[in-house]
């Protein structure tokens, strides 16, 4: 590997969330030291994931099959829909094991300043889904940020005519916090104690 290859690797690693240039250099060295046991399997896993993993056309989850494993799982309760901002939030809720319904990933939150409007999010598909499929309850599990809460209220208004029960997570979700940061216990408790929006 010439220095420019190495630099390119470091530059790319530094683009990962939570890695600055310093930790990227450390990670690159570590990978090179574990060439066979880590670097090559990682490279293969990256190629394969880039090739096979797709967004689920129903819920927006990431999986190698479409619809995703969760959407195909007939044991899950199709009458409850949990709406989350990002796939990471879906995974965080799955880790708690406390939710047995189905999910809907929005792909972000409303933010005029970031140019994200209702059309950029999976809101129309959500309204369509909630109106069919025998859905009885929609849980809006947005983070407690201003944009997250604006989005939750906006969706609640859009779902208003459907006669569903629309709930949100109980407090305990810290202000400005994202679900992915919460420990599983807090998240499960917030889910159990959900209340009407």
């Amino acid at each position: 590997m010439t220095p420019t290859h190495l630099e390119r690797l470091i530059q790319l690693l530094a683009k990962l969330p939570g890695l600055g240039p310093r930790s990227a250099r450390r990670a690159a060295l570590h990978l090179l030291r574990k060439r066979e046991s880590l670097m090559q399997p990682l490279a293969a896993a990256l190629t394969e994931a880039a090739d096979k993993v797709r967004g689920c056309s129903v819920c927006g989850n990431l999986d190698t099959v479409d619809p995703c494993g969760l959407c195909q799982d007939s044991r899950r309760d199709g009458t409850i829909l949990c709406v989350v901002e990002e796939v990471a939030d879906l995974w965080a809720l799955e880790r708690t094991g406390a939710f047995k319904g189905r999910y809907h990933v929005l792909g972000g939150v409303l933010s005029a300043l970031d140019g994200v409007g209702p059309d950029q999010l999976a809101i129309d598909p959500l309204v369509a889904r909630a109106g069919t499929d025998g859905v009885k309850e929609v849980i809006l599990a947005m983070g407690a940020t201003v944009d997250g809460q604006t989005t939750a209220h906006y969706i609640a208004d859009r779902l208003g005519q459907l006669g569903l029960s629309v709930t949100r997570l109980a407090h305990g979700v810290p202000v400005g916090g994202e679900l992915d940061y919460l420990d599983d216990g807090t998240l499960a408790a917030a889910l159990r104690a959900r209340r009407p929006l």
């Binding site: 600055g20 005029a112 209702p118 604006t150």
Partner: protein, 409 residues
Amino acid sequence: MSIVRSSARSADDLTLVPRAHPRGAATCVARISLTEFRCYRSAVLDIDPRPVVLTGPNGAGKTNLLEAISMLAPGRGLRRARLDELDRWMPGQTPGRGPAWAVAARILVPAGSHDVGTGRDPTDETVRRVVRIDGRAARGQTALAGLLTVLWLTPAMDRLFNDRAGERRRFLDRLVYGLDPEHAERVSAYDHALRERAHLLRAERAPDPAWLDVLEAKMAEGGVAIAAARRILVQRLNAVMEDGPGIFPRARLGVSGATDEWLDTMPALAAEEKLAAALGTSRGHDREAGGALHGPHRADLSVVHAGKGLPAREASTGEQKALLVAIVLAQAAMLSQVRGRTPILLLDEVAAHLDARRREALFDVLLALGAQCWLAGTDEATFAELGSAAQFVRVRDAMLAPAPEGTSR
């Protein structure tokens, strides 16, 4: 803890110094260290709970030290600086790229002590502030609000009463944070919704009315809560100043603004509805003019010199200063009463602008408050009356040297 070292003082001076003020319970800084902060490469200062007097020539680093202390509270500190402005300048170095600033302090609180550290995150590309409390990373700056409250008065605030309303609002909101730490979150959420709405209104495409409805509902809810919190603060401060010491002019505070006045005549829920409706009908206006015609972001803090019945902006420079001092002292007293905790006071070049009588009164009040107070000025003589009730620190070329007891007067 003995505050007055009687050996160094004559009996006459002692009458100035209350012996039994509640020092033991006050929150204070016991040690502060600055690294790569403004003009300081590295400096450490150990102090006791007495007032700290910082003296030194212009440009020595007095205000910078006060600013470092102000960073122990949430927010941007007493100069409202950007995080990378606090890094020490180095020749040829882009700010924010060189060594990151850090301020560490040991804080004594009634229940014990805490080690607090804060600074620009040196590991992150984005300019970000980190906070550590007792060796553990805190999730955000707000954790600091639970530990200590810092109040300040700086020369930059001298024109407050003649400045733009925005400056007074900011001053008012900072007073509210001391009483109600959630106010900071409330104001930033409100401002965010306000900006989002303004952006939507000005977009090329006709904005989604449902989205605007939601933002306006949020603004109404948060906005009325902001106005209500400001009212409570103003009422409490006015009550404290009613029976405050007579030497400082009594200030009578008020908040003027439509939303604030609605709260005089209707319950909060009705005011929320009214604000939401007002925002709804002013969309056309706000699209043209930007911002929003209604809401607590249009309010102003009004201050009246109670003795003269004169708006503060009509008072003399010295009177305005004395009014500001009165407000900050009232805030400190109110916080001790209501929240049971004494704030840390940073008074930059305050003593020099007061006449001798007011200056002595200020020292009296400060000592009686029992709050740790940091006083900065160029001339040691200004603080002579404090004697050994205070500790003197000389600041020279970004170096800190505690003056030996008894030599500084």
